[in-house]
Amino acid sequence: MDKQEIIEKLRSIVKPYSNNQNAFDNLTESTDFISDLQINSANLVDVILDIEEEFDIVIDNQSMERMLDVQSAIEIIELKLSEK
């Protein structure tokens, strides 16, 4: 799965949680989940559960903690996919 594919999937995952339409429309690798998309911090666990389901991976607690933006999410997803 290439990076662009992952970003597209991430885009549809974060859509319901995003509270900033402009940041969502301009989502890039450097987009931050909280400061840019203004996702409620409590919802981050829901985003991660949705990612696990979409990519059929399990994200450990340590990875979860650093999954705060699109770039780190991509890195973690790529890593977990490669370990499958």
Binding site: N43, V45, D46, L49
Partner: protein, 429 residues
């Protein structure tokens, strides 16, 4: 000086009607909301009929975002939010979002349990080593104060935001707690009310106690029979009722519609002493509650035009009538009109007091007494105390001034509230 307290908004999610128009029509015409419940049948309940409000998904979407409805599984919060927001809007209050909380408005919205289906779902996940998959809203949906927390956030409430709980007295208690807070000047308005979850996990315990009827699984609408000689137990129900309880000055200042005045009331307990127990009311406490409510409201028993009883359709109905008669010193044809909403909605448990209070206030406001159904065969113990003409079986259109409403609950707890038609100068003459 104590503030006068009025009701300026109503909201209702009942088994026989969601929204004020549908509900008013249903109660005036004795339309039952009791239906056969296939889930209760599948689970081999003795009682396979129930009162459950109909809330289609498109209605939910008018009160919750799609995100809020993801993994949402709390019928009590669903009903309570709809009733609460409807009451708020009915009172002419704004839904506009401001940064500053509304310091003068709060909510006291009761329930017995919260999100019992969500709770069940969570327990299965936990036992399956899936705790991490519970999601972010398992707590908010299952904490008892979930309903007041959801409402507080949607309305930006900055005064008290809490959930009371006292079994089947819960809804009546919430109104009196709101009344006290406003009377003492600590808030301008309180969204008072209560809600109850639907379904087998809330109703199962009552089925096991054999307090629900098992005789009407084929004739659901005949099942709930308060005051009837053939009453055979209550029919479980659910839903939510909501009332905006407001400081009279604040209501007048904003030109609000005033449904009724709350003159006063009383909350007490029989201490599970004497004839009282966890499940049975101590009659001395019930009578004391009614008498203290009249005393607190500053009215004479003769002034009561009608009573909205607790009257669940169990063997305790006759005792309740006796208690009212003794407390009021009125019997036979001198007894007030009395009705029980439970004949058409069932026993809505923690939501009963608020749903029935909404019905009571509608009667005062629109000048009618709704009919009791399923009591063609009045219990002889009841007609030995009061005249059968006092138990309307047809709609009565009549100017009403004062209605007493009482609720009694497990734990031997009682609540009685006195509603009066609002008149500007009623206390200054």
């Amino acid at each position: 000086m104590k503030k006068r307290v009025v009701i300026t908004g109503l909201g209702i999610v009942a088994p026989n009607g969601v929204g004020l128009d549908a509900f008013t029509h249903a109660i005036k015409n004795g339309v039952s909301g009791i239906k056969h419940d296939s889930e209760l049948e599948r689970l081999q309940f003795s009682c396979q009929i129930a009162g459950k409000p109909e809330v289609p998904p498109e209605l939910s979407l008018r009160y919750f975002t799609e995100l809020e409805l993801r993994n949402f599984n709390s019928s009590g919060i669903l009903y309570g939010v709809i009733a609460g927001i409807d009451a708020w809007k009915d009172a002419g209050l704004s839904m506009e979002v401001h940064d500053e909380p509304d310091w003068e408005s709060g909510t006291i919205f009761g329930t017995g349990t919260s999100g019992i289906d969500k709770f069940r779902e969570s327990i299965y996940k936990i036992d399956d080593f899936q705790t991490r998959r519970l999601g972010s809203t398992a707590v908010a949906q299952t904490m008892n104060s979930g309903i007041s927390a959801y409402l507080g956030g949607k309305l930006g409430l900055g005064n008290i935001v809490t959930t009371n709980s006292s079994a089947c007295t819960t809804g009546t208690e919430s109104i009196l707690m709101a009344y006290e807070r406003i009377q003492s000047g600590q808030a301008k308005r309180i969204l008072a009310g209560s809600t109850s979850d639907s379904g087998p996990y809330i109703w199962g315990g009552f089925d096991a106690m054999k307090v629900c009827t098992y005789k009407h699984n084929e004739t659901p609408e005949k099942g709930s029979r308060p005051m009837s000689a053939s009453a055979s137990g209550f029919v479980p129900g659910s839903g939510a009722g909501a009332l905006i309880v407001e400081d009279l000055e604040s209501a007048l200042a904003r030109g609000a519609k005033i449904y009724a005045e709350i003159l006063g009331g009383n909350l007490n307990s029989g201490g599970q002493r004497g004839q009282g127990s966890m499940t049975a009311p101590n009659p001395i406490a019930v009578q004391r509650c009614i008498k203290k409510a009249m005393e607190n409201a500053g009215i004479h028993p003769k002034e009561i035009d009608a009573i909205n009883g607790h009257l669940t359709a169990t063997s305790k109905d006759s005792l309740e009538i006796q208690n009212w008669s003794d407390a009021l010193g009125r019997s036979g044809a001198a007894f007030p009109f009395i009705n029980s909403l439970k004949s058409i909605v069932g026993h809505c448990l923690s939501a009963a007091g608020s749903i029935e209070s909404v019905a009571t206030v509608l009667q005062l406001h629109h000048n009618f007494i709704f009919p009791n159904i399923n009591c063609e065969d009045l219990h002889p113990e009841i007609t030995a105390i009061i005249d059968s003409s006092r138990i309307p079986q047809k709609l009565i259109e009549k100017e009403l001034n004062i209605i007493a409403k009482a609720s009694f609950g497990f734990g031997d707890v009682n609540g009685c509230v006195i509603f009066k038609k609002y008149k500007l100068h009623s206390q200054t003459f």
